[in-house]
Every structure is written in structure tokens, then in C-alpha cells.
Symmetry: C4
Subunit: 233 residues, 4 copies
């Protein structure tokens, strides 16, 4: 049986992460007087800060994935059972959608919205591929668990700016963003392209990580069936 | 008897925290040429930096609460006596108000002011509820005391942006902000709503933290009456 | 005899710190299109980053004071001999002035300039008093030497914004700033007021630190004449 | 034989570092509405974040140089063989150029471009000299390997602002920037001046580091031929 504590932690983290992504986008757009760079700076800062704090807080409980692409790769690496990864993913999708609605409630907006921000085309898909593969390399390759929060946050913060897609890098967040018609939104029709690129990026990272981080994986494997090692993100 | 050193540390931290919140708001409003997003970015950066530095400096002495909601929850968790929590709260309220006046003095403004910034309504109250419950989860759930400063600061920095209320998350700071008619101010009539939402958020965090961080609390409890463990914020 | 390595480290750090304060002010003013808040944000970020890096790099050699107020307090606390503190101060003043000239050279400006920025009056003096006393409390009171770089940098970063004087908090930097007619400059006639307030703030911190950080000082004193402990800033 | 893992790590890091420098410059220029300070703030933040994350991730494998000036100094210090430093440099140049093209692809721009941004003259060369010598001092002088990522990132972030050249500080990045006609670009004809100043700065740092960090180098030398110690950047 999958521990309720783990799923609670994944749900809580997913709600708060999505509420931050969407909510800080709404606040930034309201205050920035039309300067999109200032709005994205604020959106980046809030996302990065909450991601690091939530990973440090909930990582010891659930591994702090908050991201189906991460849980899927963990299952493919046999660091967690497929059944658990599936339960994680379900909780992550529901939690992120609830987070978008929580953001709307905090800003007095209609809860149910549909994204209209066009995000499509090979250039942005390449951005999602690069952003997600880098994220998974950090997740799979970092040496000390205590460094994972700042390393993941730093990667995502950079990727918000150096990819044309502003680095969604997370299928659950992508779906949640299709439920808001604000700064961070995306059209539902554009979701499959983003998610597909994210999954390809995750697989590329998994492939590259084997030779690159072989020594570390071997050291970990020495400990046997290390399902609790998902803490390492 | 409550150690004078502890109360001095709480007083000093409360003064400097409130002076930073109010003072950086005044500076930011003066310099930002009307762009509220730039002003809030500066206000956020200063608050986050001073909060982390003061927690690391004074945490080993008093626990570095600077926040009656935190002291109340610590007393409810039997991690400090009620008498001490009451003394902490008194010092925090007085210290934060003094901090607002110090900020006015540093900027050559009339010391005594009354806030006129309207901050009310269910949406903002929900924001305070979420911001304070997240703050208390970080306070109650972090694993290593040395991580508390950056985790609390990161949470508050994010919550400045993803809640519609800009995350006061502290009854003493809320009262102090009602004593300034500048960027960070609030109308006195709006204080009770904010403080009520904060206290509800703190209680929600306390309830959620029991099952979520049970293992950690048990480990701590093994050490007996751990009144000095208030260092953990 | 005072080790040449220590004085070299203080000189190098003072040059680079002052070059950053002055140089990033020039760059920020050139690029910010007249928005002083954006300029101060950039000036703050650069100062904070270089201060933390230089303290971590040179702290193990000289203690990384870069500040006559810090060296004076260290001597008053008998953590370094007066002769060494005097040599430190001389090197800090010369180094900071050279840093201002280096910044001018890097931006193709006349090396020799005189500040014309008016910074005077009781409100700004109070700001310098608060900024410097807080700085010295962090220097005297932090627990782990490895935390000093980020704690000092965080305090200074906050104080750039919450004091009306933008927190010079350093007599050598203050003199160096009187040698530049750019964003970070100050009129020579305003230097004595700032330096006086800084020294009073340092003495206030020294007085307050005795009861507040008594336990820590006692632990240190147990190690005998700990002149090398100046590493602790 | 030089381990393929090391060269793969250097290649990967060089690609992602250059893609971040160029890509975040494109994004920042598009969004900032002509305010160059906001654009440079975003460019700085993204560069600093990715540099720290990549150094922490790949440092244990290759030393995470991503910079021929660093590899050259490591070889001059006999901390890696010349043959390996040459292979590193080749991979760094190719990787950085590929990173610029990747950035163009992610933003739907023509892959092949030539920089037109004029960056020349003694003032900017002095900037590159100072930026690179400071970088190498941090690389050669830091005490704990785990601190290298944030110290290098902090130095580069400050140097983006306090030097007139915005601190390229890396011959491979300089060549890659000559292949983009965007915010971070440079004219090919200006590359030799920048690279020459960078190499002089690196040599100056090497000279200064010997007396300054002598004790640390001696401690390291005690361990014999420590080719794996290149991890220390």
C-alpha cells in the first residue's frame, strides 16, 4: 500500500507550486504596467523560491517530485514501483489543477477559465525538450540530496529565460496552466505538443544519465532496492 | 523566569524586520517612478534578505519567531510555555511598531501615521490564510535548523507575489503596518480580518503538520521537554 | 610583524569591493533609462554578490574585513592587536580609493573626480547608524564562520533599501565614494557625518553584543588569545 | 587516454552555458521594452543560476571548467596534463558555439549569424582583465569544493555589472557570442582583444594566487599528483 503521507505531500506541494506559478503571474501582470520582462522576473523569482522551499520541506517525505515526468523516470529507473508512480502522477495532476483554482480564488477571479495564450511550434517544443532534459539531469545526477532544492530551482529559473517556451517542464503544471487565462496560461490545444516534448526530453536525460552518472548510480544500487531514495530529488 | 536575552533578541529582530518591511517600501515607492512591480520586487528582496539574516543571527538565542502566530503555535505544541509565548508576543507587537517608527525616522517622515491602504475582502483573507499556513508548515516541518532561515525567507518571498494580500502572515507586522501611510501600509479597520485569517492559517498548519511530520515530531519528543528546541524556526 | 598575506588580502578585497560599488553604479545609471529603482536593484545585486564571494575567498586569510569599523571593533574586542587593526585600516582606505579609480578606468571616465551627490541630515545619519550597527551585530554574533559571507551580504543588501542613506556602513567605502561623481557618489563635505554615524553604530553594536552573544564569546575566549579568530567575519 | 565521461560533461556544460547566455539575452531583449538595465538583470540572473547548477552537477565528473582559460591555468599548475587541457579546450569551443546555435533554434532564428555589437577599446579590455583575473582567483583560491558553484556564480554576476565589458571572462563563450547578432553578441573583429585580455587576466591571477593561497596549495600538493583535484572548480 502506498503511504498516505507520501501522497499528501505530493498533493500539497503540487497545489502550492501551481498556485505560485499562476498567482505570481497574475500579480506580476497587474503591477508591471505592461513591461513583460519585469513581470517574468517576478514570476521567475516566486516560482524558484517556492520550488526550493517545498522541495526541502517535502523531499524527505515523498521525494518532492510534483512532476509526472520525474515520477515516470524514477519508475523507469526502478527507484519506485510503477503503481506508486501512477498514484503520484494522478495526485500531481489533480493538485496542480487545484492550485490554479486556488490562485484564481486568491485574486477574486472566476475559478474556471480556459487558457488562450498561444504556445506552439517546433521552436517552443525544442525549448520544452531542453528544459525538461536539463531538469531530469539535475534530478538524476546531483550528488548530495541537500543540494537538490537549490539546483532544481536554479535550473528552472534559468530555463524560464533561455528557452522560448519559458520552461513549463512539467506535464501536470502544463495541464494546470491550460485552466487559467492569465500571464502563465496556455491554450488546451497546445498542451499535447508541450507534454510530448517534455516526455521526450525526460527520456533523453535518462539515456544520457546512464553513462554520465554511472558511478553514482552504482554506489546507490549497492544499497539494494532503494525505493526511499526518491528523496534524492 | 524568562531569560532577558531571549526577549531582547525577539525585540531586536522585530524592530529590524518591521523597519525593513516599511523602510524598503518607502524607498521603493520613491525610486520606482510609479511602477508597482519594481517597487514590490525591491520590497520583497529587502524583506527576504533581512529575514534570513536575522533568523540565522538570533535563532540560536530566542528561536527567532518575530511573529505571535509562530509563538502561539509553539506553545500549542508544548515546545515553549504559554507564559513565555505571551511575553514573546508582547515584545513582538511593541518591537514591530517601533520598527515602523524607526523607518519613518530614517526617511524624515512624521513618526505617527495611520495606514490608508485598503486591504480587505475574502480573496485577500484567503491569501493571508494560505501564506500563514505555508509559513507555519515550513516552521514546523523543516528538518535541519540551519535550513530554516532560507526556507522561511524563500516562502515569504514567493508569497509576497502569489497571494493577493502580498503575504503579511504575521499579526505583529500587520499591526505595525497599520501605523504607516506608505507602500506597505494597511487601514486599521482592515487589521482584524487579516489577523483572523492568519490565525486560522496557523491552526490549519498545526493540524496538517501532525500526520505529515509525525516522524520528525516523534524524534524530537524523544528528547523530553525540549523548550530550547524553539530554535528550530 | 603583520603578515604581508593578510594585508594583501585586505587590499585586494577592498579594491574589488569598491570597484564593484562604484562600477555597477555607473553601469546601472547608464542602462536604466532614468529609473532609479532599477539602477539601485542592479547596484545592490552586484554589491551583495561580490561581497559574499570576496568574504568566502579571503576570509580564511585576513578575516575579510574590508572595513575600518570592523577592524576597530575587532581590536576593541582584543581579537586582533591595535597595530594590526591600524595597518588593516590604512590598507582598506587606500584599497577602496584605488577601487573607485579602477572603476573609472574600466568605464573610460576621468580617474580623478569629486562627488557632488548631497547626502546629509539626521535622517540619513540615523540610517548609517542602524546599517552599521546591524552589520557589526552580524559580524560579532554569527555562529558558524561559513555563514558569515551570506549573512553579511544579506544584511547589506536589505540595508541598501530600508535605510534612507542606502547603507554605506563602511568608512573606507564612504571616502572612496567621495572620489566619484556618479550614481554611488557623495560630497566630501558629507563624509564626516556619515563616518561619525557609522562609528557610533559600531560602538552601539559592540555594547549590545556583549550581553546578547555572551555565551558565544565565552566559548571563543576559552581558546585563549584567538587572534586568528578574525576569520569569523 | 582521456575519459569520455569528462569530455562529455565539458561538452554538455558548455552547450547549456552558452545557450543560456545567448538565449536569455534574446528573451530579455524581446520582453524588456527597450530598457537595457532590465534586460541585463534578466541575462545576469539566468547566467548565474545555470552556472551554479551546472558546476554542482558536472564538477564531480570533469571539474566543470567550461572555459579554456580555466583549463589552461589548471595545466600550468600541473593539476591536469596539457593533453587533457587541450582536449577540454577543443570541446569547450565547439560546445559553446553549438550552444549559441541551440539558442537560435529555440527562438526560431537563423542558426548562422555574425555578431555586430561593437565591444572594443582599452576600457573594456581592462574590464575583461579584471573579470577574468577575479574568476581565476576564485577558482584557485576557494577552500571547499562545495562552495565553488555559488562563489563563481556570484563573481560572474557582479562582474556583469561592474565591468564595462559585462564580463565575458571566457574565450570559448567569447567566440560563441561572435556567432549571434543579438543582445549578447560581439563583432568577430573584437574577439582577439577580449580573449587576449582574458588570458592576461588569468596569468595575473595565477601569479597572485601563489603567495596568496600558498598554504592551501601546499596542503593539496601533499596528496601527490592530484589530477582529479580539478574538481575544485
Amino acid at each position: 500500500m502506498i503511504a498516505a503521507r507520501k501522497l499528501t505531500a505530493e498533493a500539497l506541494g503540487s497545489v502550492l507550486l501551481a498556485a505560485t506559478v499562476v498567482g505570481s503571474g497574475i500579480m506580476a501582470e497587474r503591477l508591471s504596467g505592461g513591461n513583460a520582462a519585469i513581470a517574468l522576473l517576478a514570476n521567475t523569482g516566486a516560482t524558484v523560491a517556492v520550488l526550493a522551499a517545498l522541495m526541502a520541506l517535502l523531499g524527505p517525505i515523498s521525494g518532492a517530485h510534483f512532476n509526472p515526468a520525474v515520477s515516470a523516470v524514477m519508475a523507469l529507473q526502478r527507484r519506485m514501483p510503477y503503481s506508486e508512480a501512477s498514484a503520484y502522477a494522478l495526485v500531481q495532476f489533480v493538485g496542480c489543477c487545484a492550485g490554479a483554482w486556488l490562485a484564481h480564488a486568491m485574486f477574486g477571479l472566476p475559478l474556471l477559465q480556459i487558457g488562450t495564450h498561444v504556445r506552439a511550434g517546433p521552436a517552443q517544443w525544442l525549448g520544452e525538450f531542453v528544459a525538461t532534459s536539463g531538469l531530469l539531469l539535475v534530478v538524476l545526477g546531483h550528488e548530495r540530496p541537500r543540494d537538490a532544492p537549490w539546483m532544481v530551482a536554479a535550473w528552472i529559473g534559468a530555463a524560464y529565460w533561455f528557452t522560448s517556451s519559458t520552461s513549463f517542464a512539467n506535464p501536470a503544471i502544463t495541464v494546470a496552466r491550460s485552466l487559467t487565462n492569465s500571464f502563465s496560461g496556455i491554450r488546451p490545444v497546445d498542451v499535447p505538443g508541450f507534454v510530448g516534448a517534455q516526455l521526450l526530453g525526460a527520456l533523453a536525460a535518462l539515456t544520457l544519465s546512464r553513462p554520465l552518472f554511472a558511478a553514482r548510480a552504482a554506489a546507490r544500487a549497492g544499497g539494494g532496492e532503494d525505493f526511499r531514495a526518491t528523496t534524492s530529488k
